[in-house]
C-alpha cells in the first residue's frame, strides 16, 4: 500500500525525523485557514499517489492566506496522471540551501534492506545513479543484526557531507528512518529531497512510503490510512468483494485464477489481436459466490463486449466455477458472450454442468489460445 506524502510525514514525525509543520485541507477555505495558522509563505501540495506533481502544477507557493486559497482552488480537482486531487497539504515554505536524497528499500536480490544516500538530491535519482554512480552511496543492513550507528556515520562520510552539524543530524535521521522502515514494515521509505536550510537545519521535504499489505493485520494505525476513495470505483467495489481487479482499456473482460495465469491470459488476448478490458483474478479456492462477485464487477464496465473465463483448477474446482457462472447468469442480465475454458481439478464435471444448462451466450473452448481467439472475435462482432 502506498501512502500519501502527508501520511508518510506523519510517520516520519512519529519516528523523530524532522518535517515542516503543515495541515491537510480538502477545500480552498480550509487551505486559507491552514495558511493563516501556519504563517505565510506556505506551499500548497496536491496529495495524489503518483509522481510528477510539480510538473503538473500540483505544487504551488502562496505568499498570503488568500493566495493559498486561490492555489488550492486551482489544484483541487486537478487530474495528475489519471489521479484526481481531493486533498492538499499546506506546509510552511522552507528556505533551501542544499538538497540531498535518502532512501531505504528492499534489495530483492540481496534479500536485505538497502540504504541509498547522495548529496545530489532533488532531481531524478535514477539519473544520478546512471550518470554518477559513485555519488550514490549504498549500504546494506543485515536484517538479523539490525541497524547500528556506524552505518549512519559511514553513509554521511562516504557521500562527502562536510559540515559536522549536518553530519550529526543526517546520521540520526538515517537511524530513525531504519526504525520507521522496520516499525511500519515498509517496503520503501524515500526522502527526496532531504533539505538543508540556510540555518543548517536538516528536514524531510517530501515522503514516499510503501508499506507491506501482508503486515497490515498487525499495524492497525497504518492500515486505517488506506484511502478507498483514491481507487477506481470498480476497483473499490472489487476490493469490497474480495476480488483482485485492475481496470484496463479494452473490450475483452478477462477472468482467471491466480495472478500468473490471469496475467498470461491478458497477454494472450493481446497477442491474438484483442484489447483486454481488465485483469481479474479469482484467487485460489474461488467458490461459486466469488465467481458471481467477479462477474458483477467485470460487467459494470460499459466497455466490455465479451468475457473470457480462463480457469486452471488446482485448489479452485472447475465445477464450483461452472456453478458460479450459471448462478450469475440466473441473477444478472448478462448479454455479453462468455467464453469459458476449464481445465484441471473437476474440469469434466464443470464442463458437463455448462453443457447441460447450455445458456445461449455461453461458448466453451478447449484451450487457452482458442478461448482467447474466440473471445476477441466475439468482442468485435
Amino acid at each position: 500500500m502506498d501512502l500519501y506524502e502527508y501520511q508518510g510525514k506523519e510517520l516520519f514525525r512519529r519516528y523523530g525525523i524532522p518535517v515542516s509543520e503543515g495541515r491537510l485541507a480538502t477545500s480552498p477555505a480550509e487551505a486559507r485557514e491552514a495558511a493563516q495558522e501556519l504563517g505565510c509563505p506556505v506551499v500548497v501540495k496536491a496529495q495524489v499517489l503518483t509522481g510528477g506533481r510539480g510538473k503538473a502544477g500540483g505544487i504551488r507557493l502562496a505568499e498570503t492566506p488568500a493566495e493559498a486559497e486561490a492555489r488550492a482552488r486551482e489544484i483541487l480537482g486537478l487530474d495528475i496522471r489519471g489521479h484526481t486531487v481531493h486533498k492538499v497539504w499546506v506546509e510552511r515554505a522552507s528556505d533551501i540551501e542544499r538538497e540531498y536524497y535518502l532512501s531505504i528499500t528492499f534489495d530483492r536480490s540481496e534479500k536485505k534492506p538497502l540504504f541509498m544516500f547522495t548529496t545530489q538530491g532533488g532531481i531524478d535519482i535514477e539519473e544520478v545513479a546512471a550518470s554518477s554512480p559513485e555519488a550514490l552511496v549504498r549500504l546494506h543492513v543485515d536484517p538479523l543484526e539490525g541497524y547500528n550507528a556506524w552505518q549512519g556515520r559511514r553513509l554521511v562520510h562516504d557521500a562527502g557531507v562536510e559540515d559536522p552539524g549536518e553530519q550529526k543530524q543526517i546520521a540520526a535521521i538515517v537511524g530513525n528512518l531504519y526504525r520507521a522502515f522496520v516499525g511500519t514494515e515498509a517496503m520503501l521509505c524515500e526522502v527526496n529531497p532531504l533539505i538543508v536550510t540556510p540555518q543548517g537545519e536538516v528536514r524531510a521535504l517530501d515522503s514516499k512510503f510503501t508499506v507491506d499489505d501482508n503486515a497490515l493485520f498487525r499495524l492497525p494505525d497504518v492500515a486505517k490510512m488506506r484511502d478507498l476513495a483514491a481507487a477506481d470505483p470498480l476497483e473499490a467495489l472489487a476490493r469490497e468483494k474480495g476480488v483482485t481487479y485492475v481496470k484496463l482499456d479494452g473490450e475483452v473482460g478477462v477472468l482467471g485464477n491466480g495472478a500468473g495465469l490471469t496475467m498470461s491470459t491478458v497477454d494472450v488476448v493481446t497477442f491474438v489481436g484483442g484489447r483486454p478490458a481488465n485483469f481479474c483474478d479469482l484467487g485460489g479456492g474461488g467458490d461459486a459466490q466469488g465467481v458471481v462477485d467477479a462477474l458483477e464487477v467485470i460487467t459494470r464496465d460499459p466497455q466490455v463486449r465479451s468475457i473470457f473465463f480462463n480457469i486452471f483448477g488446482g485448489i479452485t474446482r472447475c465445477d464450483e466455477v461452472a456453478r458460479g457462472i450459471l448462478q450469475a447468469l440466473d441473477q444478472m442480465a448478462i448479454e455479453d458472450p462468455i467464453v469459458v475454458r476449464l481445465d484441471g481439478t473437476n474440469a469434466k464435471e464443470g464442463r458437463q454442468l455448462l453443457r447441460e444448462a447450455a445458456p445461449p451466450n455461453l461458448h466453451a473452448e478447449a484451450t487457452m489460445l482458442d478461448g482467447a481467439r474466440r473471445a476477441v472475435e466475439l468482442a468485435g462482432a
Binding site: 532512501s103 528499500t105 528492499f106 534489495d107 530483492r108 536480490s109 534479500k111 536485505k112 534492506p113 538497502l114 541509498m116 531524478d124 535519482i125 535514477e126 545513479a129 550514490l136 543485515d142 536484517p143 538479523l144 522496520v182 514494515e185 517496503m187 520503501l188 524515500e190 527526496n192 514516499k208 510503501t210 507491506d212 501482508n214 503486515a215 493485520f217 498487525r218 485492475v246 484496463l248 482467471g256 485464477n257 491466480g258 495472478a259 500468473g260 495465469l261 496475467m263 498470461s264 491478458v266 497477454d267 494472450v268 493481446t270 497477442f271 485483469f279 485460489g284 486452471f312 483448477g313 488446482g314 485448489i315 479452485t316 481445465d343 484441471g344 481439478t345 484451450t367 487457452m368 489460445l369
Partner: protein, 290 residues
Amino acid sequence: MAIIVDSQTRLVVQGLTGSEGRFHGLRNRSHGTNVVAGVTPGKGGQDVDGIPVFDTVASAVRETEADTSMIFVPAPFAADAIYEAVASGIRTIVCITEGVPAHEMLRIHAFIRPRGVTLVGPNCPGALSPGKANVGIIPAEIFREGGVGLVSRSGTLTYQIGHELTQLGLGNSTIVGIGGDPVVGLSFVDVLGLFEADPQTEQVVMVGEIGGDEEEKAAAFIEAEMSKPVVAYIAGFTAPPGKTMGHAGAIISGSAGTAQAKKDALEAKGIRVGTTPTETAELVAEIARA
C-alpha cells in the same frame, strides 16, 4: 532422481488438522508421498486418517524421522512454524501459506542460508516430482514423469504450461513453484543449479513474471553455469505499470522489471522465450525431438 522431494522424502505437515492442511496432506499421500506426521500445538496424540499428530515438530521428528516439512498454518504463525522446523532439524521446508510479511521473510532468509536449509516459498504451490512425491497443492494428475524440469513463480500458470507439455507427450522430473512474494527461499538460480546437477533432468522450463530481477540473474547463471537447454516464458507483457517500488527499486535491479526487459535479458544470452504458454511448450518439444 528429481530434486527437492522424491521417494525418500519423509513429510511432516505443520497445520495438518486445519481444513486446507488436511485436504492437501491426504491428497499428497494419495499421490505416493510418504506423509509420516502432522503437527498442531494442543492436538498431539490425535491422528488424521491414520497420520499421527504431534504437539511439536521436535517430537514428530523424534518419533517418525521426518526430514521435510510442509507448512499450512495461517500467515501470522508461518514464520514461527519455519523457525520451529529449522530448530527441530528439518532441512527441507515447503511453505504454502500466503500473506507472510516481507520483513519476516528477510529475517528468515538471513537465518536459514548459513544453516543450509532449503525453503520453498512462501506463497507457493510447492514441489512435485511425478511418480515419486508431491509436497504442496500442485494437481499431480495433470503431470507425468519425464525429463523436463519446470520452475515457476506462479501457481496456476505452472499448471497451464505443465498441461501443454503433457499434451505434447512430455513429462517432468520436478515441478517447483518458488512463489511470487518479494522475498522467497529458493530463487530461480538455486533451482536451476539443482536441475543442472540432477541426472533425470534433460532440459528446463523457467516461467517468470514482471517485477524484481530474478529472471535477469537467471539469464546470467544459465549462460555461465548450465549445460542443459533452458526455455523461458514471461507473464505480464501487457500489464499496466502497477505496483512499483518507486525509483529505488528500479535502481537496485538495474532493470525496469518489465516483461520486455526480462525477455531481452534472456534472449541476449541465447535463451528462447515463448510468447504464449502454447508456444513455450512447442519450443520444449522441439528441443526434446532434436
